[in-house]
Symmetry: C2
Subunit: 293 residues, 2 copies
DNA sequence: AATCTCACATAAGCTGTACTTATGCATGAT
DNA sequence: ATCATGCATAAGTACAGCTTATGTGAGATT
């Protein structure tokens, strides 16, 4: 069965609550005539009188009196649900991020964001799919790329640059790493990574002999980093991801030479939503974190 | 907080149930474009995406998924309530009737109506107020009057005529009632009733001596009738109300002379509702009852 | 008793929302 | 490679739903 026009039901609900068409009209910001019209419509639609028109007031008929509380309850439910949705929409920040950035940078720092924004819950989606907010349930994204996405605002986070890193003990085992060529004496973690070629070229070694060890391929900088810290070989990593480990001496960066592919990490979100409070808060926090360096 | 436009909510509810704008549009008998438009409106209104647009289908976002069941439930409530109202409206017949007719004619016969229409419940309102269906919660009315009410259909039930009646034992106590004048030898139940004047005039006694006995005024033919049956005096009553008592000999009607004030009992109901089944059923039953006489 | 006031009904006319039609776009299926 | 499907979007339209203006009836007020 089809519902009667909802505008009519809404008018009925308000009129029943107030016992007055005039007051209902005020509540709904319309005229008394409009309420009268809608209620007449509803009565015709369901085929029975809902109100008794008495001189200075209207009263519910028996049928109207039975209908009214149920309708009110249904409206309350909807009101509550939509209010909850609003809170939910405001109170949960969903971040879609590439896994590497999540593991190496975001997750370790999220605690500070949550301290700063205790009312905001964070939901993380680590995925490599290109970010498309019309088909991903997310508020902000972190992606690498050119930074040009139509309709999107993109803040540069840092360069996806790369340089060799290794465990200091591993370096000591060959008497220290003095020249780029020294690296070739050590196992290479993921020698298939194209970054190696780029970096050695930048370091003046155009065609390095990278002895491939099939076991050492991780496909993810996060895992590669773990292997390097554990001393399993030299890795080519993004320094910004390993600030802590470098500071604590778990890793060393033997050369200042840094490769780059003109590739950046970006914080992105739809331009239309740039003033949504939770998005603002996250952007400000993230940019603040970068300045602290 | 104000609810978003209900048309948008309805579109959302249907789309969420179907997981498809196209199917929702079919259900609501509108185009896919309209559903798309409404949902976009709703999303803007509550400030968050509700659907993820995936190729060949739409999926609810987390927030949409939380909202949807509540909205569906609210709609189900309303649907059920309105369906119940319809049943109620169809299943309860409210009759507003003048008390005399209720007591003397209608109530004793209602059992037969209820046997004939077991699905119909009857609610009786005995009141003397003029019948006005816009301010009385009733489906049909029984009133006396001229039979001309604008916008109303009125079926004549019978003449509100009147003639003296009395208990046969009372008649015997004065050796029988042979002439109208004989009545004056007996106590008159409610001598203030204007019908007496009219009847005696019709019977050829223009100025009868009605010895008023202040105790014997009832103001209601029903009570008056009880007194007459009990032998407390002669009453002036409407024969149609006392068919049973006359047949069984509890009352006698000594003269065929019947007074009338061109006043009838009418069954009335709004013209616009003449085809409502319960009203039809009652009208047909009532007219049938009259023919059986 | 006469007048006033209040609340709703009704008519006429307007306005803007919610629709349709037409088209475009992306993607999964064939 | 082509087709089919499902949603988005733009433009134009129709009519529901509104406002304005006025009428009505019965309490309230004097």
């Amino acid at each position: 069965m089809n519902l009667p026009p909802l505008a009519a039901i809404r008018a009925f609900e308000a009129a029943a609550r107030h016992g007055s068409f005039t007051k209902a009209a005020e509540e709904l910001s319309m005229t008394q005539a409009a309420v009268s019209y809608q209620i007449k419509l509803l009565e015709e639609r369901i085929g029975t009188a809902l109100f008794l028109r008495r001189p200075r007031q209207v009263t519910l008929t028996e049928i109207g009196a039975r209908l009214s509380p149920v309708i009110s309850e249904a409206f309350d439910m909807m009101r509550a649900a939509i209010a909850a949705t609003r809170e939910n929409a405001d109170g949960v920040l969903t971040i879609t991020t590439i896994p590497t950035f999540a593991a190496n940078w975001l997750v370790p720092r999220l605690g500070s964001f949550q301290l700063a924004q205790p009312a905001l819950a964070v939901r993380l989606q680590a995925t490599r799919e290109i970010v498309d907010f019309s088909r991903q349930d997310a508020d902000v994204g972190i992606r690498s790329g050119s930074g040009r996405w139509p309709g999107m605002i993109a803040h540069k986070i840092f360069d996806a640059d790369f340089t060799p890193m290794l465990n200091p003990a591993l370096a000591a085992s060959i008497g220290g790493v003095k020249t780029p060529a020294d690296l070739l004496k050590l196992p290479i973690v993921d020698p298939s990574d194209p970054w190696w070629q780029l970096w050695f070229a930048a370091a003046g070694i155009p065609e390095p002999d990278l002895r491939g060890d099939p076991r050492s391929r991780y496909g993810d900088q996060h895992l590669e980093g773990k292997a390097v810290i554990a001393g399993q070989g030299v890795g080519i990593l993004t320094p910004a991801f390993y600030e802590t480990e470098l500071a604590q001496g778990q890793l060393i960066q033997p050369f200042d030479i840094v490769g780059t592919a003109d590739h950046f990490y970006w914080l992105v979100y739809p331009e239309a939503r740039r003033n949504v409070p939770k998005i603002r808060a996250f952007r400000d926090w993230l940019l603040g974190q970068l300045e602290e360096r």
